[in-house]
Amino acid sequence: MSADVVVASGGLDCHLLSGCGFPAPGAEIFMFDEIASFTIGNLEFGITKVTVLLFLCVFLILGFFIYAFRSPKLVPRGAQNVGEMGYLFIRDGISRDIIGKDGDRFVPYLMSFFFLVWLSNFMGIVPFAQIPVTSIFAIPVAFALIVYVTWVPLGVYKQGFGGYFKGMLFPPGVPKAMYVLLTPLEFLSNLIVRPATHAIRLFANMFAGHLLIATFSIAAFYLLSASVIGILGSAASFTVAVALTGFEALIQFLQAYIFTLLTAVYISGALHQEH
């Protein structure tokens, strides 16, 4: 990425002392050229680096778990141990904790989200990949959309159309007059803001994190010159970029966890009558 970014943001000659303004990275670092494209019906599908990385994530996740659980033993060893850790983290740490015992059939669903989001985020700090797949807005939107079209029909199926929307829009234990105020708010909060924030939270975190790392990486290059201030400034900037990379590793996991946790919360609300 860095070479691409540097070239995109002013070229190799752009340094502080050469009178060049700071080439701050912008939205262009999230835009990738199409490698290939194909058309199905009227729709053209553009394949970019991000698409390739996304399917690399898909391949790695399926490859690992199918390999780890190919012939599971009662006494686990090696990859099975690691795989089980991941499985139990989702089953016990998220599904059973939030949904309960009847959430066990959602474990593959939650697990798919967690590992796909985590690995997609993680691509941001993998050398040569160096772009979080989830910092491309369409990807978190796609994931949040899947969650949305899961829990809404699930709630209708479990609690009935009237019962489900009555419980959601007319929360019990509130004076009748309050519904004038409360019902539009609940409608907005549950059915519109909830899926939007679900997608934006993940996207914005990954987007901002990547932008920060890119900014400090470019600054390290931009400040570099044969002078004390040039070397110190460049080193400081580089150190911050490295520290941010470590910090991002944490955020990537955390955001994947939050995304999956919220998914579990929404499903739980659809399965059980909210109080």
Partner: protein
């Protein structure tokens, strides 16, 4: 969070400022959306249909194995306890039997000893009785012999003393007998 929003809006405005051809980072092209959905569906399908059923089964089996192990151990313990109880009961019974046998043996031995003692006593009594009878017979014989000899001696002596033979005289014998009877009477009286 403020940083995030600021950075995002800065990026958006920067993208907007660069020109019309630069699409917004908030754009959601339908092809990318569909690709995202497909990516998820592949992962979900693979995990749900291939990877996870086997591990779910294994984890259940493991739970069963652990629970079964505990159950088996409890069962074995109960069995062992029952067996020990049985052995203890058998041991007590055996001890009782042994003690009964010992008591019986003691009784038998006492009876045997008693019997042997009785027999011995009886035999001793018989021997004593026989000896006593023999002794009595011997004495009687000796007494009669002695009596006769004493008589004869006395007669002989008397004959010698009076100077005449009194040996074959019936009258003398009668006298001697009377004399002897008198002696006997005196002895017994």
């Amino acid at each position: 969070m403020i940083n995030v929003i600021a950075a995002a809006s800065a990026a958006v405005s920067a993208a907007g400022a660069e020109g019309e051809e630069m699409p917004s980072v908030l754009a959601v092209p339908i092809d990318e959306l569909i690709i995202g959905i497909i990516a998820f569906l592949i992962v979900f399908g693979g995990l749900a249909k291939i990877a996870l059923p086997s591990i779910k089964k294994t984890l259940e089996e493991r739970t069963n194995a652990i629970e079964g192990g505990i159950e088996r151990a409890a069962k074995a313990e109960a069995e062992a306890k029952a067996l020990a109880e049985e052995y203890r009961a058998q041991l007590a019974q055996a001890r009782e039997e042994a003690s009964a046998i010992r008591t019986q043996a003691q009784a038998d031995r006492s009876a045997l000893i008693e019997e042997a003692r009785g027999e011995a006593r009886q035999a001793a009594a018989q021997v004593t009785a026989a000896a006593e009878a023999q002794l009595a017979a011997d004495r009687a014989q000796a007494t009669s012999q002695l009596t006769r000899q004493v008589g004869e001696l006395a007669v002989t002596l008397a004959g010698k003393v009076v100077g005449q033979s009194l040996t074959d005289d019936a009258r003398v014998r009668a006298t001697v007998d009377e004399f002897l009877d008198d002696l006997e009477r005196q002895a017994t009286g």
